[in-house]
């Protein structure tokens, strides 16, 4: 202890105090303050950036979810549209078929009726022809039969004969 007190140099103490306090003040102004400020600024910048990135990530996730939802909706819509279209197509085909059927039936019917009336016409004509022919034949036969007296007599007789039988 005695040695320590003996060794104590007031001049050195004075200079150390003066120089060190001066050093602290100078360093504070020219070094520590700018350094710590810069570091703090950088750190808060990093923190902000991280936060922003986190936010962006969240937003991205939201967007992704939205996209997914939209996609699903679109897919469903497409599905529905396709289904509808298919139905319409089927309906149209069925309708067309029905219509065609009806038309064909109508045509067949018309054809049949036409055939029928043609047939009837032909039949009438045929009947008329046959009647004319038979009249002509009968006229010729009658003319032939009644050409002579004998023959006329025979006829009368046969006719009478027949009548008697009745």
């Amino acid at each position: 202890m005695d040695k320590l007190i003996n060794e104590f140099s007031f001049g050195l103490f004075f200079w150390q105090l003066l120089l060190f306090v001066g050093l602290v003040l100078l360093l504070r102004k020219f070094a520590w303050k700018p350094i710590l400020d810069a570091v703090e600024k950088r750190e808060s910048g990093i923190e902000d950036a991280l936060k922003a990135a986190e936010n962006a990530k969240l937003e991205m996730q939201n967007l992704q979810a939205d996209n997914d939802r939209l996609l699903k909706e679109a897919r469903a819509e497409r599905e529905a549209m396709l289904k509808e279209a298919r139905e319409i197509k089927a309906k149209m085909v069925a309708d067309a078929k029905d219509e065609a059927q009806v038309q064909a039936n109508q045509m067949i019917e018309a054809a049949q009726s036409a055939i029928e009336s043609e047939k009837r016409l032909a039949m009438t004509e045929l009947k008329n022809q046959v009647a004319t022919l038979s009249l002509e034949i009968a006229e010729k036969v009658v003319r032939g039969e009644l050409s002579s007296k004998d023959k006329q007599m025979d006829l009368v007789e046969s006719m009478l004969g027949e009548t008697t039988l009745n």
Partner: protein, 373 residues
């Protein structure tokens, strides 16, 4: 938090261990020297050499008025000093400033303005034209001492280190203007600065108040560290083993603690809450004494660690010249090498401890709580 306190405890343990080993080694060393003296008395050359080594170590530990790197005796038998003189500033009935070259390394009397001064054990004493120094029974000079404010070797070194720190950190600060990351030296220094902020200041002082103390903590850390490292160079500067220097640093810690002490701090000193009244009365002087002992322990710890390290290192180096054979010399070389490595650690460790404890004291001064003991 517990992890961190464990880490600090560990550091303390290492520090105290290194100190005790050094002191022990020093003690052993002295013991050894004494034994040697007993074994071989009367060996004139060896005795003289031992005395010279001892004197050299003492001389190295002391401050000096000129910056001498080394000295040798030339062919003509004259002692030649390599170095440069520093200004001597005395207050002795008026300011007296002169170059320390006037002392001729303590060999001559300096005559300034009709007064005579002489160096004795690196201290300036007033003397007569013949340079007589009268000693008392305890070998202390009885001559009057003028008030010495000289720029000594240590003051010069402190100044240089101050400039170095200013240059280092202002250039680091400038490098932040170019970008968010420092360039050059700042790359290395920034983690240390951040360590002091994040692991010393904030945990001990708290987020609310730590900013006020950052300048002191950072300055004190880098100042002690660099000046300790400089002490390990062959330049022979040795600042932190001066009690005046560590005292100046510790008194700053004490003043800052005292002036930033809040109501809670003083209450815990003078009227400890949560204990019975008689205990409060007993505790008050103890706590008050504690406020002085805390910074006192700071100054003694730093001083003792660095002084011990230097003494041991130089004694081991000195042993080389005593042994003068290849086994002993290489052994002490190896030992000195290992010790130098340890001293490198101690240099940083003492800076860390000083900063850490200062932060702890500041933290206790601004702590706000809760009387829930």
């Amino acid at each position: 938090m517990p992890r961190k306190s464990v880490f600090s405890l560990l550091l303390f343990f290492i520090a105290s261990l290194s100190l005790s080993t050094m002191l022990a080694q020093h003690g052993e060393n002295q013991h050894e020297e004494m034994e040697l003296q007993e074994v071989a008395p009367g060996v004139e050359g060896k005795e003289g050499l031992k005395k010279e080594i001892k004197e050299y170590i003492n001389h190295h530990l002391l401050d000096s008025h000129d910056f001498s790197l080394y000295s040798y005796t030339n062919d003509a038998g004259e002692k030649v000093h390599i170095g440069f003189p520093l200004p001597v500033i005395l207050w002795d009935g008026g300011l007296k400033v002169f170059s320390s070259s006037k002392f001729h390394h303590g060999e001559e009397v300096a005559e300034v303005g009709g007064e005579y001064y002489k160096l004795y054990h690196n201290k300036v004493y007033k003397t007569n034209a013949q340079g007589d120094i009268t000693l008392d029974d305890h070998h202390h000079p009885t001559n009057a001492k003028p008030f010495d404010l000289s720029i000594t070797k240590n003051v010069f070194t402190i100044f240089i280190v101050g400039l170095l720190l200013l240059w280092m950190f202002s250039s680091m600060a400038k490098s932040y203007k170019k970008g968010a990351l420092p360039s050059g030296m700042g790359r290395f220094l920034e983690p240390i600065v951040l360590y002091i902020r994040d692991d010393i200041a904030i945990p001990n002082i708290g987020l609310k108040h730590y900013k006020r103390y950052m300048s002191f903590l950072l300055s004190v850390f880098f100042f002690i560290w660099i000046i300790n490292l400089l002490g390990l160079t062959p330049l022979g500067v040795n600042v932190t083993n001066n009690i005046a220097v560590t005292f100046a640093l510790a008194i700053l810690t004490y003043l800052i603690t005292t002036f930033s002490g809040n109501k809670n701090y003083w209450k815990h000193i003078f009227w400890m809450p949560g204990v019975p009244v008689p205990m409060k009365i007993i505790l008050a002087p103890i706590e008050l004494l504690g406020t002085f002992i805390k910074p006192f322990s700071l100054l003694i710890r730093l001083y003792a660690n660095i002084t011990a390290g230097h003494i041991v290192l130089m004694s081991i180096i000195g042993l080389m010249f005593i042994f003068k054979n290849w086994i002993g010399s290489s052994l002490s070389f190896g030992l000195a090498f290992v010790l130098s490595l340890l001293e490198l650690l101690v240099a940083a460790l003492q800076a860390y401890i000083f900063t850490m404890l200062s932060a702890l004291y500041f933290g206790s001064a601004v702590e706000e709580h809760h009387d829930d003991h």
